[in-house]
Amino acid sequence: MDALLLLTPVGAASLAAAVYLLLGWRRITAHVASAASAIILADAIALAVHVTRRGPIDVASGWLHADALSAFMLLGIGTIALIATAASPAYLASHDGERDGSRRRYAVLVCLFLAAMATAVLAGNLGLAWIAIEATTIVTAFLVGHTGSRTALEAAWKYTVICSTGIALALLGLVMLYDAARHANLTETDALNYTLLTAHAHDLDTGVLRMAVAFLLLGFGAKAGLAPLHSWLPDAHSQAPAPVSALMSGVLLPVALSQILRVTAIANPALGTGYARTLLTVMGLGTLLLAAIALIRQRDYKRMLAYSSMEHMGLIAIGAAIGTPLALAAILLHIAGHGLAKAVAFTSAGHILATEHTTSIDRVKALARRQPVLAGIFAAALLALLGFPPFSLFASELALARAGFAAHLGLVIAAALILLLIAFAALAHHGGRMLLADADHDAPAPSPALSTRAYTPLITAVVVLAALGITVYPISSLLNAAAGVGH
């Protein structure tokens, strides 16, 4: 039963991939990916219930492991995947010129992507998690380059090289961690099992562990879009198909970040909270700074959304640096909220691109008047990302600030707030230009008009996002338990 819970997500996604590989993208297979996502989501719910009631599950001598954090992340994967895969048919339909092979490849890779991410969050062994995360890079490389344009290829190259390099650094850290663990008398299989590592953290050699943690944070940070190896993010997110951007921004970054949480859980007892806190603070504030200044003169709305992802990841990194239970609960809620909001934002940006035929902020004008529903959804996502209530990002940012001041990191929070203000101003400026600015000529009616059915998942997501900001009552025990894992 336990094994089934842990294997179902990976299995469902892999099976879907196999279906697409064999049958290709057809009318009857169009919703297989959505079905797989739904299965992942259902499994995540079951897992969440199981984990909060009976505690963590270990399978295959610790290679697979599910605790509240895993369940929470899997819940996120399932939800965002459902939104993204539901948007895929519309995306593929709007690119009529594509060949069947290209569609098949898209579908297969998306499913493999999901499988890899599910593996990453369900792995009990850091080595396995690493393999899964590197696998996401490989799988998404072709998704980023999916359109085959020069810029898409360029983005794919940068994405693959930078992420592989970054993740290699994480491997280096992992090797060092393994070294330290082996010398703390852990067996070969146990030496990368994070549950056992956390338990034996005090036995690890501090000198080696310091280096290991630094490389792990740097490496997983690269995949999470944190400075200094962040530069792939705006390129990849802006070039990838909209549903893939949604998945990358909404799930992939947090999955990488959850590994950072695992690492800090090992580092903090052994090295004291100060060490990881300093590293994460520097990375988080650096990311925020880079995102904020890059947003100021942004011209491309997909890049704008990508930098906004960086901004939020920076904030989450700062939350991880604070590390108190309130901060961890806050970043988990933030991950959930950001994932939903970004999924909606990227998907609707995809619709905007499909109807306006441009990614330039300047050339999209008076959207609120010309496409009210789409503009409303996009605006709602943008407002959520700007941190307005009732969306949950407000609650999580507020809790983050409270946790920061309570942990005597007031200056860090103050700096982050100022950078957030700059990012806010920039986003509001660009968003306002797209939605409200006068159209300088009689802008043509958008082509092709989208069916309302395409909007349904997005509106649902916005409502969920708002509901999460009002109450998290159904998942509050999961949230608290997950926050306890990282502590």
Partner: protein, 669 residues
């Protein structure tokens, strides 16, 4: 066990508000405006009733742990909250009634009608909040809903106003968030009750920093100079009923927050806090009214007048703090009561004025005073009611603004009892600011009324104006009644004010002792008597003239210097009316005027055409904000070097990080 009436009233307000909002989304156009307007008005009335109950001494507290993730909602209603609940609810109800007429013309915009009851509800939630998280949640909800309403019109102007508003209000939020969260962290609890109990043990330095942050945050919402830049842009952009709610209710919440945190949570603190508040209040009052005096856009003029009045209120709060610090709790209570009374009176006349301006905009399609004129004959009722509001805004006897400014001066008269040179230097400044703003307010509103409503129409749009519809006039009428009540019998509010001041925590003594004092001073002022005598005399003289007159009045032509006809182009416009004042305050407002004379082809001594244009840019805005904007833009240019597209550079960042890391780790060993 019976339910708490305050809770019931609040629940009713919330329920009707949500009904109004949903109704706007789902109802068919035919009944939508009436149904949503009706339930919005019911919601506002219930809110006002909750406030009135709180002012009569009832309290209510609740804790809802499952709402607002990671924080929980804490609610508490006391008399201080009651003042703001009552004012907000009443303004909302009046604006809702007015809106039934107003939105019928602009019926197509469902979104506005759906959002604006939510906006009003968020306003009602702010004074009820009793923890840091709850307050900030309500605060941002208010920011979001009002932002949507400001942007609702669409187009470039709404975009620009919305951007200013969004950024400034977020700046305020950042200050507020930092301040309040810091305070909560220092007190180890985030409920107001807990903070109030623990604030004695917090170090004065932290409290001082918190106060500065909170002053900036709440002050920016209250239009405190120099954080006012958003206000004259955003308020006029929103639909007029919403402008009224923003200008008459929303800005007050900045004052509420400052009073609640400054007196209730921090228990007064140092004198320099309140000196700062008083000085900024004085600055806002004078700067606001000078800008209003030279403004020609009717709604912007009213918005600047809001800056002025909120400045006066801030000044009153500052004076209360100083007096309290000097061991004069009774005088402090008096000053604060004056401030709170002014909150109510300002709300009354500003609602009336904004709604009146809305009727004008609705009837003529313009807000430019230079293009108006002659509305007296076309919109007689609106003109009369606007005049009543203008009387209040000018703080002349008979107007709503007079009693509160009078009460404030009363408290300052006794300021001699306080010690300390700095405060004594500041107080004359404060009195001067009140006096100057009162004088300029008279000129400002003579201009607004005289050039906007009297005289002859100066444009076709004003020429074809028509009287507002029934519901709009009803809204104006209710506001006018409130104005009159506050102007003529302000003394009746004394017990409620005393309770509110007590609840503010400024004075922790028994209620009766200074309630008597308040009532006594309240009765010293008898505007009713003075106004009644003046009115009687006027009527008597008129009657006398009529009796003694030999013939009825007859019309006569105007003096046209023998060169008829007189045209509307010869009239004094708002711009020309304000020109002398503009010259007087030349150094303060630095107007940009441009005179373009085109000579005749045949002789350079003949003038073919003269074009005069004038702009009064907000000087503080130019000096303070533009440099910041430029700096940020420069930083934005830097970003292009950071992300220049070179994959080598991108990898280099990582490489450098690794090297630095290894060096630091090696060095730190």
């Amino acid at each position: 066990m019976s339910a708490n009436p305050v809770a019931v009233a609040l629940a009713v307000a919330g329920g009707f508000g949500l009904v109004a909002s949903t109704g706007a989304l789902v109802l068919p156009a035919r009944i939508r405006v009436l149904a949503t307007g009706g339930s919005a008005a019911a919601s506002g009335t219930a809110g006002a009733a909750a406030g009135a109950l709180a002012l009569s001494g009832r309290t209510y507290a609740a804790h809802l742990p499952n709402l607002l993730p990671l924080g929980g909602v804490y609610l508490r209603v006391d008399a201080l909250a009651g003042v703001f609940l009552a004012v907000t609810g009443a303004v909302f109800a009046v604006a809702a009634v007015y809106g039934i007429g107003y939105f019928r013309g602009h019926g197509s915009n469902r979104a506005v009608q759906a959002v604006w009851p939510l906006f009003a509800l968020s306003l009602l939630l702010v004074p009820v909040a009793a923890s840091v998280s709850t307050l900030l949640y309500a605060w941002e909800l208010m920011a979001l809903t009002s932002l949507l309403l400001v942007c609702a019109g669409g187009g470039e102007q709404a975009r620009s106003a919305g951007l200013w508003y969004a950024v400034m209000t977020h700046l305020g939020l950042v200050a507020l968030l930092a301040g309040l969260v810091w305070l909560a962290a220092a007190a180890h609890t985030e409920t107001f009750a807990g903070i109030a109990a623990a604030s004695g043990s917090i170090s004065p330095a932290v409290k001082g920093a918190v106060f500065v942050l909170v002053l900036a945050g709440f002050g920016s919402k209250a239009g405190m100079v120099p954080l006012h830049a958003w206000l004259p842009r955003a308020h006029p952009e929103a639909p007029s009923p919403v402008s009224a709610v923003m200008s008459a209710a929303m800005v007050n919440l900045g004052v509420y927050g400052l009073v609640r945190v400054g007196f209730g949570l921090l228990h007064g603190g140092s004198r320099w806090w309140w000196l700062t508040a008083l000085l900024l209040g004085a600055l806002s009052a004078v700067y606001g009214i000078i800008q209003a005096a030279v403004e020609t856009d009717l709604k912007r003029l009213l918005a600047y007048s809001t800056v002025e009045n909120l400045g006066l209120i801030l000044l009153a709060v500052g004076a209360a703090g100083i007096l309290s610090d000097s061991g004069q709790p009774v005088l402090a209570a008096l000053a604060l009561a004056a401030g709170l009374l002014h909150v109510a009176t300002h709300a009354a006349f500003k609602t009336l004025l904004f709604l009146g301006a809305g009727s004008v905009l609705h009837a003529t399609g313009t807000r430019d005073l230079d293009e108006l004129g002659g509305l007296r004959t076309r919109m007689p009722v609106t003109t009369g009611l606007f005049a009543l509001g203008a009387l209040g805004a000018a703080a002349l006897p008979g107007g709503a603004g007079f009693p509160s400014e009078w009460l404030l001066l009363q408290s300052l008269i006794h300021a001699r009892v306080i010690s300390g040179a700095a405060a004594l230097v500041m107080l004359p400044v404060a009195v001067g600011a009140i006096a100057l703003s009162a004088g300029l307010a008279v000129a400002t509103f003579v201009k607004a009324l005289g050039t906007g409503f009297l005289a002859k129409p100066r444009s076709a749009r004003a020429e074809h104006a028509h009287e507002a519809s029934g519901p709009m006039l009803a809204g104006l009428g209710i506001a006018a009644v409130a104005c009159l009540a506050l102007a003529l019998v302000p003394g009746t509010s004394a017990p409620a004010l005393a309770r509110a001041v007590n609840a503010a925590g400024l004075y922790v003594g028994g209620l009766p002792e200074y309630a008597d004092r308040l009532t006594a001073i309240g009765s010293t002022l008898s505007p009713l008597l003075v106004v009644a005598v003046v009115v009687l005399l006027v009527l008597a003289i008129k009657a006398l003239l009529k009796i003694t007159a030999r013939a009825p009045r007859r019309a006569a032509p105007l003096w046209d210097c023998g060169a008829p006809p007189l045209t509307a182009r010869m009239e004094y416009t708002a711009t020309s009316f304000a020109e002398p004042l503009q010259r007087v305050f030349d150094d303060v407002i630095a107007p940009e005027s441009d005179l373009d004379v085109t000579q005749h082809d045949e002789s350079e001594y003949l003038v073919a055409r003269v074009a005069y244009s004038r702009a009064v840019p907000d000087r503080i805005e130019h000096r303070l904000y533009l440099p910041v904007v430029h700096t940020v833009r420069r930083a934005g240019r830097m970003a292009t070097h950071v992300a220049n597209g070179s994959v080598h550079r991108y990898l280099g960042y990582g490489f450098c990080a690794v090297i630095v890391l290894l060096v630091v780790l090696a060095a730190a060993r």
